[in-house]
């Protein structure tokens, strides 16, 4: 335990320069920030384009491709996916396909494991609900529509069609000479 005078004498050793020069240097940085362009956006009015591989909190499910094999349900770490099938003629019919997004952590392992590309993650991120039960997505609710678009996570074909992501580094980076960058 140090006594107070000891501390003070040790601290005062470092003060060799003019007091305030460091603060002035810091203020120069803040002035630069003041004069520069704003890098934020006002969110509900202006939205940024999400990544092509965005793991959004909605799923897109294609009933025509799904065979009810339940690989997605097996790969889910929490067991949120429930698949019930019925023996139809020559193939299984999917009777029930439910994902409990309230317990989902959007790791994407179900989408990664799907052998028929029948399940995709979505691009939405504003899905607050009033009831927990509304978070359970059912068969009809999960099909592709105008509002519900699949994301390119583990779906390279879809990824190619999506718009480019807004990057902060392009909006707020330093001005630099444009060079052709090689892709390793």
């Amino acid at each position: 335990m140090k006594s107070e005078p000891e501390q003070k004498s040790k601290r005062s050793k470092d003060k060799k320069r003019v007091f305030g020069a460091g603060i002035a240097r810091g203020l120069r940085v803040t002035m630069k920030g003041l004069l520069g362009r704003a890098i934020t956006t006002s969110y509900p009015e202006h939205k940024l384009v999400v990544s092509k591989r965005f793991r959004g909190n909605e799923f897109v499910w294609y009933p025509a491709r799904c065979t009810g094999c339940s690989t997605c349900a097996k790969s889910c770490p929490h067991g949120n996916i429930e698949v019930v099938t019925r023996r139809g003629n020559n193939a299984y019919e999917v009777e029930k396909f439910e994902i409990d997004t309230g317990r989902c952590m959007f790791c994407g392992l179900c989408v990664e494991s799907c052998p028929y590309d029948a399940l995709c993650l979505g691009r939405g991120y504003e899905l607050a609900k009033y009831r927990r039960g509304d978070l359970v997505l059912e068969k009809e609710a999960m099909q592709e529509s105008e509002k519900r678009k699949p994301s390119g996570y583990f779906r390279p074909k879809i990824e190619k069609t999506l718009p480019a992501q807004t990057l902060l580094i392009e909006r707020a980076g330093r001005k630099s000479r444009k060079k052709k960058e090689s892709v390793p």
């Binding site: 501390q7 999400v50 591989r53 994407g108 392992l109 990057l167 580094i169 330093r174």
Partner: protein, 370 residues
């Protein structure tokens, strides 16, 4: 006039668990004599989710998203440490390109994590959140790149046993090159803001000094250890992955005080940029993920894999019984072991210094409580 004796008694304050300066839900039961700290009793467990137990019921791949939730400010390195332990256990070879991608994202994660550590240092010195926004700006750029890579900004789930989940899209490379080119300029900016600021110097120099002996005895690691002058970095001293192919220095402090920890982090960020630059030049084309069966089934045995995470040594101890899930899954958290020195560091200091010293350990409660 006769001086009357004032009766004093120690005063106990519960700092946290919902205090803004406790980095999550950490509670300190502090006994004060006036304003001076007499005793500190750390209490944690408020964020306990039982990840170690949960992992025993999940397959080796399903554990990867759980490791994201340990140190949630450095998820990539958590993924890396875990998959490295599994690869060691199962004897899976990793393709060259995957190793380079891991180094690139791992070092970017280190920059992002250190940015927050330095940012919150100023926050705790009393400059409430405005200067932190400078650090958040650069962190945001890194998160953008990770988002492009794997679709999420905090819980990446990017690494897989035997490689990484995705190859980066073509637009990733110019962005990351630009980031590495610009980053040293921004680090100069932070140094202008913090390093020379007299108020910061007065509050951090010789505050919370950790001695070399105590640091080694407490088995501290990371920048927290290196600030005391111990030259120990797993990237060089127990080389894993492909770190032996890069040239980089390991910044070491002298005094072991709060300022040295800050300087170690700042200099480490510069070294990270160097490593990324070299990795970008060397990265080969080819496979990014080894071909493996859907379920990894390592032979019976045990393994301890450790990496140099941004906050110190992060280890994973796995016991396999030749099934698809580990028999035992244990994490050696870097910050929890660094935190054991808290009592020795803070006793004798004032309340305001206690906050700064605690912040300089740079804890993440997700990793401490698990």
């Amino acid at each position: 006039m006769e001086a009357t004796e004032t009766r004093t008694e120690p005063f106990v304050i519960n700092l946290g668990p919902h205090h803004p300066s406790t980095h999550g839900v950490f509670r300190m039961r502090v006994t004060f004599d006036g304003e001076v700290v007499v005793d500190v009793e750390p209490m944690f467990g408020y964020l306990h989710r039982g990840i170690e137990k949960l992992a025993e019921g999940r397959t080796y791949t399903q554990i990867i998203p759980l490791t994201d939730r340990l140190d949630y400010l450095a998820s990539m390195t958590n993924n890396w440490g875990y998959v490295m332990a599994v690869e060691k256990l199962a004897g899976v070879p990793v393709p060259e390109r995957a190793e380079y991608l891991r180094v690139i994202v791992g070092e970017m994660m280190r920059i992002s994590s250190h940015l927050l550590a330095t940012g919150f240092l100023i926050n705790e010195l009393g400059a409430f959140f405005t200067p932190l926004m400078y650090m958040y700006r650069e962190r945001e750029k890194i998160l953008d790149l990770f988002d492009m890579l794997c679709g999420q900004r905090l819980t990446y789930n990017y690494m897989r046993v035997g490689g990484v989940s995705h190859d980066p899209p073509p637009e990733f490379w110019p962005a990351v090159k630009r980031f590495v080119r610009e980053m040293p300029g921004y680090i100069d900016e932070y140094e202008g803001l913090v390093t020379t600021n007299e108020i910061v110097l007065a509050r951090t120099k010789d505050v919370g000094v950790l001695s070399k002996e105590l640091a080694i005895n407490a088995s501290a690691s990371g920048p927290f250890l290196r600030a005391t002058g111990v030259d120990w970095d797993l990237r060089r001293d127990d080389t894993y992955s492909i770190y032996d192919r890069f040239k980089f220095d390991i910044p070491v402090g002298t005094n072991g005080d709060v300022f040295d920890r800050y300087m170690c982090r700042i200099q480490e960020m510069r070294q990270c940029c160097r490593i990324i630059e070299q990795a970008l030049q060397q990265i080969p084309r080819g496979e990014f993920r080894a071909r493996l069966p859907h379920l990894v089934r390592p032979p019976a045995g045990e393994v301890y894999g450790h990496i140099e995470a941004p906050r110190g040594e992060l280890g994973f101890y796995l016991v396999s019984d030749n099934s698809i899930a580990p028999y035992r899954f244990h994490v050696r958290p870097s910050t929890m072991i660094n935190l054991t020195t808290l009592r020795d560091l803070t006793i004798g200091w004032k309340l305001a210094d206690l906050i700064v010293i605690f912040g300089s350990i740079d804890v993440v409660l997700g990793e401490i409580d698990r």
